[in-house]
């Protein structure tokens, strides 16, 4: 009797999980793969094959965009780590008790503001008639309006800005759990600042670093608003290609192929990162 109750409650708990994962995650993605293998040969006549993928390989614009998106996302991930790590370390280890909470809060607030608003804010600052250009003219440093938008540097700054908090938050929680005595012991044993950082702090923070990097990379590679709003029409971001195929050209088959390629590509990078650092998905992303 007791056993039956247990089994029943397990089944009852398992049902929503299974329905969610099956109906909303697995089946739609399988459907996307199936669609990507289909080609339109005549109106209402379809054929199955690798045609959409062959088109992708034969058209340099497509795979260049994917490579560009991938490499820029990696760059953004590295920059976010380099910029974010000192901030996280300051919050977790250097700031006093009271400032720590306040700083962490300040970090979290922009996290709750939509990407759209943040990109909009950057546009107001950086465009030709924007705040920075006006201030520079007013101060006499330049004599004509400057357009800061629509170039790669701006896109990268915007992306780093959008995702950096997803790097800082897991880092702070990992570093917070680290015993200060470990750092002191490192110094007492004669280690210099860089040695302590390299041999003690970074190895300890590794799960947080990997977790932050995975989330940041995925968010960047899958971002849509920031590259388009800050980079303009020619930002050549891969998600834009997907949107273009789906909505503008109404070529769902090829759009689905692009979507699947983006998924495979990003998953591969994440898998590679986990392999290199010797971490698993469960002890990194799931913990934060």
């Amino acid at each position: 009797m007791q056993k039956d109750v247990k089994r029943l409650s397990l089944i009852l708990l398992f049902t929503p999980f299974a329905l969610w994962i099956l109906l909303l995650i697995i089946i739609p993605h399988m459907g996307m793969v199936v669609l990507s293998l289909r080609e339109k040969v005549a109106p209402r006549v379809y054929e199955y094959g690798l045609g959409n993928y062959i088109d992708f390989i034969n058209e340099p614009i497509y795979w260049n965009t994917l490579l560009r998106t991938g490499s820029m996302s990696l760059l953004v991930t590295v920059l976010a780590l380099l910029i974010g790590f000192p901030i996280a370390y300051y919050i977790a280890k250097i700031a006093g008790n009271r400032t720590r909470g306040a700083l962490f809060l300040l970090c979290l607030v922009p996290l709750w503001v939509s990407d759209l608003i943040r990109a909009f804010g950057w546009i107001l600052l950086l465009r030709e008639t924007g705040v920075i250009s006006s201030v520079l003219q007013w101060s006499g440093l330049v004599h004509e309006p400057i357009e800061f938008l629509y170039n790669d540097v701006t896109v990268i700054i915007g992306l780093v800005y959008t995702v950096i908090l997803f790097m800082i938050v897991p880092l702070v929680s990992t570093l917070d759990g680290m015993d200060n005595a470990m750092i002191e012991a490192g110094y007492n044993l004669g280690g210099s600042g860089p040695t302590v950082l390299r041999r003690i702090i970074i190895p300890y923070a590794m799960p947080g670093i990997v977790s932050g990097c995975i989330v940041v990379f995925m968010l960047t590679a899958g971002s849509y608003l920031t590259p388009i709003l800050l980079g303009g029409k020619n930002s050549s971001w891969f998600t834009e290609q997907i949107y273009d195929q789906f909505i503008t050209r109404f070529n769902w088959e090829s759009g689905a192929a692009f979507g699947f390629l983006l998924l495979v590509f990003t998953s591969f990078v994440v898998w590679l990162g986990l392999k290199i650092t010797g971490q698993t998905l469960a002890n990194t992303v799931a913990r934060s």
Partner: protein, 286 residues
């Protein structure tokens, strides 16, 4: 002494860096919010004086956001969508937490990874895969049985499903973390005192989880409210606010009414974030 000076200089440099970072963090938000109060037709310098017209004025060309029908309906749809997503995802997230903390079943670890996965799938892909599946089913039903189901066409129902698909991972993780901290001897004590299963769940376990459930619900609400990537592909004629704002930005260009909306949204999410923190703070006492 020299060593000490160097150290102090380093610390000051470090502090300056942190300060610069927070200025970087705040600058676009301040820009987005403050131009809502500039008495000008464009959200740019020079400053022409303080006004609340972009919130309350009821005539063109300075139509305030509270008189702008499309923005208001966007706000309404976002609110409806976010409320449904938040309730659904907290319900399923709570089940998932019990399933993975208490349940014993084969392949538990693999299934746990499966549960985290939606969080790392790019939102755009989630959107298109949902759109493809729903349309395939809808077309199949229409061609074969001549049944037309509107819910499967782009619209609120699909947006809710698409957002629910990945937000549930977030709520599950938040509630799981809390349930792991639960001391099961409290439940045992209640059982020993003769309480039924349902009563123990209702009077002991769920109250313990309540802060996490509220926090997860607020997070889900905010994430849903702000979502753009997944929503973009699933949206029908009832566009939520982010889509309406994006359309306005693309078609009309930036107008201060968008600053007014940004200001209200920042205010709202700031307040909700504070509620989350207040709720979480209770948690340390409980």
């Amino acid at each position: 002494m020299a060593y000490r000076n160097k150290n102090a200089a380093f610390l000051w440099g470090y502090r300056l860096y942190v300060l610069a970072f927070f200025i970087f963090l705040a600058a676009p938000l301040i820009a987005a919010g403050s131009f809502a109060f500039n008495d000008s037709l464009f959200p740019s310098l020079p400053w022409r004086g303080f006004t609340l017209d972009w919130f309350f004025n009821d005539t063109e060309p300075k139509l305030g956001m509270f008189h702008d029908r499309r923005l208001l309906s966007g706000l309404y749809y976002s609110f409806v969508i976010a409320s449904i997503v938040s309730m659904l995802s907290v319900a399923v997230g709570t089940c998932n937490a019990f399933l993975f903390v208490r349940g014993q079943f084969p392949a538990k670890n693999a299934l746990y990874i499966l549960m985290i996965l939606p969080l790392v799938i790019p939102g755009v892909i989630l959107g298109i895969s949902m759109l493809v599946l729903a349309s395939t089913i809808a077309n199949g039903l229409e061609n074969r049985f001549d049944i037309e189901i509107d819910a499967l066409r782009p619209g609120i129902a699909l947006v809710v499903l698409g957002q629910f698909a990945f937000i549930t991972t977030i709520t599950s993780l938040v509630i799981t973390a809390r349930l792991k901290k639960f001391d099961e001897s409290m439940e045992e004590a209640a059982f020993n005192l003769g309480a039924s299963r349902a009563r123990v769940l209702w009077t002991i376990t769920l109250p313990f989880l309540r802060p996490a459930m509220i926090a997860a619900g607020i997070v889900a609400f905010l994430v849903s409210f702000e979502n753009f990537n997944t929503t973009l592909f699933l949206v029908g004629s009832e566009s939520p606010l982010t889509i309406t704002m994006y359309d306005r930005m693309a078609k009309v260009g930036s107008t201060p009414v968008l600053n007014a909306v940004s200001f209200i949204l920042m205010l709202g999410s700031g307040l909700l974030a504070l509620v989350t923190i207040a709720v979480q703070r209770d948690k340390s006492k409980g």
